[in-house]
C-alpha cells in the first residue's frame, strides 16, 4: 500500500455510470449502474489511508473505511467485504441509499480539496461484487444459548437486530405485518433506486443463518407484545414510522389525492407498475403534483414520471432547503421533474365528480431561521393561484403507527408517537422490551435505524447472558 505522504493527490472522483435520463425516465431498472472493477480500483487508490481517518467518525456504524478501501486498491475484494460486514450487514443497501455526502464523505479530508473519496460507491461495489460471486460467505455460529428473542418489524432496524443476535447464538423470530420483509426498503424506496432483489437477498441470508421469519403478522393485533413476552425472553420493536401525515386542507379526500405511502406501496410492494400482470391497480395520471421535498417526495415524483405523467414537486421553501439527497434531486431534475419552490398548496379543488382537478397554491418568501435552523417560509398575501392537476401525492412526513403503543400497557411514548428509549441501550420503559429505528427517532435513515438495532442487540445480548 502506498504511503500517504508520497502520493500525488488525485482529486478526480470517478463517475459511476448511470442510465441516460431519456432512457431511464421510461423504465424501472436501476438508475446507477455501479463501478466496473477497474474504476473501483482507481477510485480506491485515491484514498490517502489517513493515519487518523476522519471518515470513520462520519459513519454512524463506524465502518473501518480506509481498511476496506485499501483492500479494493489491492484487489482483495474478499477481505474488503469482510471488513464492511464486521459493522454493516446491509452494505448493498447502504451503498445505494445512505446519505454519504453528509456522513463519511463529508468528513473525508479530500472534501476540502473538492475530491472526497466516493466511499458509498465503493461500499456498493464490494457488496455487488460479492453477490456476483454467487456464494455468500456464511459465518460459523456459536452453539445455541437457548434464549429466544422476538423482533417486531422486518425493516433495517429489525433485520440488524436479528442478524446480530443470531450470530451470538440466540434464537430469533421476526414478525412482519406485511407479506414481504424489508420495511420501507420494499414498500417505499422504488426499484429504480434500490432493486428489491437486493433486499430479498439480504433477507434470505438471515433465513439461512436460522432467523425465523413470520410475515403477515401484526403485533398488537395478531398477538400483543405482552403475549410475545410469555414465549420470548426479549422483544425488540422496530416497527418504523409508517403513519402518513396529511396537510389537513380542504379537498384532501378527493379521488386522486394520495399519501406517499399509498402511492409507493401500490407501486413497490404491490408492483402496480406491472399492472395488470400484478392486480393492484394504479391510475394513469397526466399531471401530478408531489407535495414535499424529501427523499420520499423525490421517489414519488420519479415514479409518477416513469408512468408517463408530467410531474411537479411543490415545496414551500427554496432549493437550498430541500431535505432530499442531492444526488436524487439531480436525478429528478435530469429526468424532467419540474420544481415549484416557495409554493404552498392551500386547498384541492374537485371536478364535480369527486376527482381532484386543480390545486390552489400560495407563493412564499423566506423569513428568519426557525427552530429547525432553516429559514421560515412566510406566505405572500394575495399570491394565490391555481395549478391544474389530476393527481396529488402528499409526501410531507410520517410518524409511528400507534398500534403497538396502544396495545402495550406501560410502554412510554411521546406525544408524536415515538417510543422513549435509553439512547445507549435502546431499552424502553418496559422490562425486556427494546426499540429502535424510525419508531424511536421518527422518520430518519436506514443507517441510523441499523445503528440503533446494533446498540439494542448488544444490550439484549448482555441481558440474555445475565439470565
Amino acid at each position: 500500500m502506498t504511503e500517504p505522504g508520497k502520493k500525488k493527490l488525485d482529486l478526480r472522483r470517478r463517475e459511476m455510470p448511470k442510465q441516460p435520463p431519456e432512457v431511464r425516465r421510461r423504465n424501472f431498472s436501476e438508475v446507477a449502474l455501479g463501478y466496473p472493477v477497474e474504476t473501483a480500483v482507481e477510485e480506491a487508490q485515491r484514498c490517502l489511508n489517513c493515519p487518523k481517518p476522519s471518515c470513520i467518525g462520519g459513519c454512524p456504524v463506524e465502518i473501518d473505511i480506509p481498511k476496506f478501501i485499501q483492500c479494493i486498491a489491492a484487489r482483495d475484494f474478499v477481505a474488503g467485504i469482510r471488513v464492511i460486514k464486521e459493522k454493516n450487514c446491509l452494505p448493498a443497501v447502504c451503498g445505494r441509499v445512505c446519505p454519504q455526502e453528509e456522513q463519511c464523505e463529508e468528513a473525508c479530508v479530500l472534501k476540502k480539496r473538492g475530491g472526497q473519496v466516493a466511499i458509498g460507491r465503493l461500499e456498493r461495489f464490494l457488496a455487488d461484487w460479492e453477490a456476483a460471486q454467487g456464494e455468500v460467505e456464511m459465518p460459523t455460529l456459536p452453539p445455541p444459548t437457548g434464549r429466544k428473542v422476538a423482533v417486531v418489524g422486518g425493516g433495517p432496524a429489525g433485520l440488524t437486530v436479528a442478524g446480530d443476535l443470531i450470530r451470538l447464538g440466540h434464537a430469533v423470530t421476526i414478525f412482519e405485518a406485511l407479506h414481504k420483509m424489508g420495511g420501507v426498503l420494499v414498500y417505499g424506496i422504488p426499484e429504480f433506486r434500490l432493486p428489491k432483489a437486493i433486499v430479498h437477498r439480504e433477507v434470505e441470508y438471515l433465513r439461512r443463518l436460522g432467523v425465523q421469519i413470520v410475515t403477515d403478522f401484526v403485533v398488537g393485533k395478531t398477538r400483543t407484545v405482552d403475549s410475545l413476552l410469555e414465549e420470548y425472553d426479549a422483544v425488540f420493536i422496530g416497527s418504523g414510522a409508517g403513519l402518513p401525515w396529511f396537510m389537513q386542507i380542504p379537498g384532501e379526500n378527493l379521488n386522486g389525492v394520495y399519501s406517499a405511502n399509498e402511492y409507493l406501496t401500490r407501486m413497490n410492494l404491490m408492483k402496480g407498475f406491472l399492472f395488470p400482470q400484478y392486480h393492484t391497480p394504479i391510475k394513469e395520471h397526466r399531471r401530478v403534483a408531489v407535495i414535499g421535498g424529501g427523499n420520499v417526495a423525490m421517489d414519488c415524483a420519479r415514479t409518477a414520471l416513469r408512468l408517463g405523467a408530467e410531474v411537479r414537486v411543490v415545496y414551500r421553501r427554496s432549493r437550498e432547503e430541500l431535505p432530499a439527497r442531492e444526488e436524487e434531486i439531480e436525478n429528478a431534475e435530469e429526468e424532467g421533474v419540474v420544481f415549484d419552490f416557495l409554493t404552498l398548496p392551500v386547498r384541492y379543488i374537485g371536478d364535480g365528480n369527486g376527482w381532484v382537478k386543480e390545486m390552489e397554491c400560495l407563493k412564499m418568501k423566506l423569513g428568519e431561521p426557525d427552530a429547525s435552523g432553516r429559514r421560515r417560509p412566510i406566505p405572500i398575501e394575495g399570491s394565490e393561484y391555481r395549478m391544474a392537476v389530476d393527481a396529488v401525492i402528499c409526501a410531507i412526513g410520517n410518524s409511528p403507527n400507534p398500534l403497538i403503543a396502544s396495545t402495550t400497557p406501560g410502554l412510554e411514548v411521546r406525544k408524536n408517537g415515538t417510543i422513549v428509549v435509553d439512547e445507549e441501550t435502546g431499552k424502553t420503559s418496559r422490562e425486556r422490551v427494546w426499540a429502535g429505528g424510525d419508531v424511536v427517532t421518527g422518520a430518519a435513515t436506514v443507517i441510523l435505524a441499523m445503528g440503533a438495532g446494533r446498540k439494542a442487540a448488544r444490550s439484549i445480548h448482555q441481558y440474555l447472558c445475565s439470565l
Binding site: A177, V218, K221, T222, N253, S259, T265, K283, L403
Partner: protein, 284 residues
Amino acid sequence: MAELRATEMIVPNMHLLTIHAPEVAKALRPGQFVIVRAEEEGERIPLSVSDWDPAEGTLSIVFMNVGGTTNTLAKLPAGSRLPTVVGPLGKPTEIDHFGTVLCVGGCYGIGSLYPLARALKLAGNKVIVAIEARSSFLLFWEERLAQVSDQLHVITRDGSKGLRGHVGRLPEIIAGCQPVHRIITNGCTYLLKRVSDVSRPLGIKTVVSLNPIMIDGTGMCGVCRVTVGASTQFACVDGPDFDGHQVDWAELLQRRMQYVREEMRVYRSSRGEEAVICQGHGHD
C-alpha cells in the same frame, strides 16, 4: 400461507370459505376483518369474518364475487394455499348490554352479522335481526341467525319472501319492537347508507361497518380514509365501525369507485366476460 380448508357457493355468486389460520382465529372478535391475497401477483383485499373456531384454528368468510380477486378466490379448490391471511384487523364492534339491538344485514354482510348477533345475545340484549336480499334465493344463514336472535325478519326486493322492498321498510319492524336502542348494520355501502338514512329521523344510534378501499389494513397507507363528522378517520384502524349518521356517504361512495376502470381489466381477464360491479344490488 394459510390453507383453504373448505369452499362452498352458498347462494349464486356468494361464497363461503373456511381457512386455517390459527393465530388469527385465536385473536378474533366480532366485527373484525382480515386481509387476504389470493395469489402471489394478487392484490390485498379486506374481508369480514363470519365465524371462527379457535380450537380448530379456522375462520370463515362469506364473500361476493365482484371482481378480479374475489373471482380468483371463488375458483380456488379446498386444499389451496392463500399467500396472505392477516389479522384480525380493525377494532371489534362494541358489544355491551344495550337493551334491544336491531342487526341489519344485506349481501355478504349477512355472514358477518352472525357473530355480532351471537355476541349481542350473549351480552343479554334482545336481538332483532333483519336481512335483506334481492330475492329469496339470495338469502342464506336464516336458521343460524334465528338461533342467535329473538326475532328474524326478512325483506326481499321482489317480495318472494318476507316483506317486499328494501330497508326502507325497517321502520315497520322497529315500530313492532319499540324501543330499539341501537342498530348495527353490515353489508355493501349502499345498504349501510340506506339504513342510516332510515334511522336518522328515528334518532336511533346506528353503527355501520364501512368498506372503503384498503391496502395494508394497519394504518400505513391512508387510502381507507373516510370523513366522519368533521374529522378524517382511517377505517382500517379507527373503524371499520362508525356512526352512520356522521359518515360522509357521498365521499365514501366516490372513493370506492376510484379504480373501477382498472379493476375491470383484471376482472375481465380472470373471467373472460363482462363484469358487473356491486352497485348496490338493486337499491335505487
